[in-house]
């Protein structure tokens, strides 16, 4: 067999291997979603969404956990977005490129890969104990903010990096200061990338369980949290709690809660996608 034929054969083999891998991934996801839908879809109704947890599976609802998830989402966003975006701007626009900067850069990338339960332990010590917040929504949101900060910082930096130099020069050339240039030109041009990164980071936060268990989110919450200093539960906690019960009814409940959680994350990803396309269309060079 000569070399050309061999290379072509390799090409074909790899093509089908790659296709098989892709199909395998899609198939697993489809099986998971179909299984969840079959088990849980019948249980998703208005009473389930507006109901409170109960010891009787058929009477249980997810309202406190869902409201808790939304609270955590809003608080985490309010804490993590300003800090993360500002840090990204500093590192990209103001920070000097020296040894220290490279060290910081490397460590931020590493932080994005630290297991989330470690952040939970950090949050438990700092927010719950030292700062005395207790096992509240605020402590949970602070912990999740730490968790998603690296993702937001990296996304912000990438988005800012993609803004062409010519745009900055045009602004500087007209007598704009650095801050005016960042605020009027760089950030608007980078906003699509930043928003996308932020939403993806937040949808990760919505799905987290481990750090909130450590911080002390409750498994059984018979009330709707009304402020940042309330105790709380979140959907993943509720799901985790239900799947560990022996009764079949709770398993169905957890499937139904997973559907709601999936809907929330799909919705967020959809919004991210929409915003990215919208901004990309607006800004062309």
């Amino acid at each position: 067999m000569n070399k050309t034929v061999l290379n072509r054969l390799r090409d074909v083999v790899f093509k089908y291997f790659g296709m098989a891998c892709t199909l395998f991934g899609l198939l697993m996801l489809a099986i998971f979603i179909i299984d969840i839908l079959i088990r849980g879809l019948g249980r998703v109704n208005w009473d389930f969404i507006t109901g409170f947890p109960s010891y009787i599976p058929e009477n249980s609802g997810i309202l406190p956990a869902m409201v808790g998830t939304l609270w955590v989402l809003v608080l985490t966003a309010a804490l993590a977005i300003p800090v993360g975006v500002a840090a990204g701007i500093y590192l990209e626009e103001y920070g000097k490129r020296n040894y220290f900067a490279r060290l910081v850069e490397l460590n931020i990338a590493n932080l994005a890969g630290v297991p989330s339960i470690i952040y939970g332990l950090l949050g438990l010590e700092i927010f719950v104990r030292v700062l005395g917040m207790g096992s509240t929504l605020l402590a949970g949101a602070c912990t999740l903010s730490l968790l998603v900060l690296p993702v937001i910082i990296v996304a912000t930096r990438e988005a800012i990096k993609a803004v062409p130099k010519t745009l900055r020069e045009a602004s500087y050339g007209l007598g704009a200061s650095k801050w005016q240039t960042i605020w009027n030109q760089v950030l608007p041009a980078a906003s699509g990338g930043i928003v996308t990164g932020v939403i993806l980071a937040l949808s990760r936060a919505v799905g987290e369980t481990a750090p909130l268990i450590v911080v002390g989110a409750l498994a059984f919450v018979p009330f709707v949290p009304s402020g940042p200093m309330d105790e709380f539960s979140v959907l993943p906690m509720q799901i985790f709690n239900w799947v560990s019960r022996p009764q079949e009814g709770f398993i169905i409940n957890s499937a139904a809660a997973i559907i709601v959680l999936l809907l929330i994350t799909f919705l967020m990803n959809g919004v991210a996608l929409y915003l990215r396309n919208k901004w990309q269309k607006k800004v062309k060079w």
Binding site: E169, A170, Y172, G173, L174, G175, A176, A189, K284
Partner: protein, 253 residues
């Protein structure tokens, strides 16, 4: 006492890290004149141009020795605010780089960042600048249209209008017509000719005919040195140096 020259460069040396890219540049520029910088790629002419409004400040390895004096003041002096300098020394870039905003917003950007918000003042400045840049008649009915919808030549004239709106006295142009078609190029050249009566214009160009057409004086750079600087006519008809002769006749570069 008014200084004799609009702009003086004295023993300017520029380094990028270890690279010595400009060597002992001395140059005096008269008020309301057009000076062309010519020379092969990498000869330092753009770097020199960017020294004149401190655009190189953002390059971390950049280091400069010597003085650049505009209107009798050293622009690299500690007390000089670089934003103020750039209002006086405007710049037009090689590739048209309008902001992704409306035509109107592009022209008034330089004024808005100075804190000018009165609408009649901005409107007036926009109209005046667009007229001077010979773009007004083409865009007066759609000032709200995105600037990026204009043709390349129109975009470049918009960039010139934007620069004029800030009322500079010196305009630096870094190959302003190299990305344009011949018709747009001739419009930009006409414009330079008209602007000459009010501005000191320094223009980097790779186009020999362009340099000959638009400029009063021509500077030939080679390998970081200013080889020849004289009346354009002299440089093109009777250059003192053989390298200048070889370059302008196309024997190298």
């Amino acid at each position: 006492m008014t200084p004799e020259f609009k702009l003086e460069a004295k023993k300017v040396n520029v380094y990028y890290g270890e690279n010595h890219v400009l060597r002992d540049i001395n140059m005096n520029i008269e008020k309301n004149s057009v000076t062309a910088f010519i020379g092969p790629s990498g000869c330092g002419k753009s770097t020199f141009l960017r020294c004149l409004n401190r655009m190189n400040d953002y390059i971390e390895t950049f280091r400069m020795e010597g003085d650049v004096i505009i209107d009798g003041k050293d622009i690299y002096d500690r007390n000089v605010r670089v934003e103020e300098l750039r209002k006086k020394v405007g710049m037009v870039f090689q590739k048209p780089n309008p902001f992704p905003k409306s035509i109107y917003e592009n022209v008034v950007y330089g004024l808005k960042i100075q804190g000018i918000t009165r609408k009649d003042e901005l409107d007036h400045a926009a109209e005046e600048s667009l007229k001077r840049a010979a773009l007004w008649d083409e865009v007066k009915h759609d000032l709200k249209k995105p600037a990026l919808a204009l043709s390349g030549g129109q975009q470049q004239r918009l960039c010139i209008a934007r620069t004029l709106a800030v009322q500079p006295t010196v305009i630096l142009m870094d190959e302003p017509a190299s990305a344009l078609d011949p018709i747009s190029t001739s419009k930009v050249e006409e414009l330079i000719h008209e602007l000459k009566s009010n501005f000191s214009i320094l223009i980097v160009t790779h186009n020999m005919q362009q340099a000959a057409r638009v400029s009063d004086k021509t500077a030939f750079f080679y390998l970081g040195e200013l080889v020849e600087f004289d009346e354009t006519r002299t440089v093109f008809t009777n250059p003192k140096h053989e390298r200048t002769q070889n370059y302008i006749t196309g024997r190298f570069g």
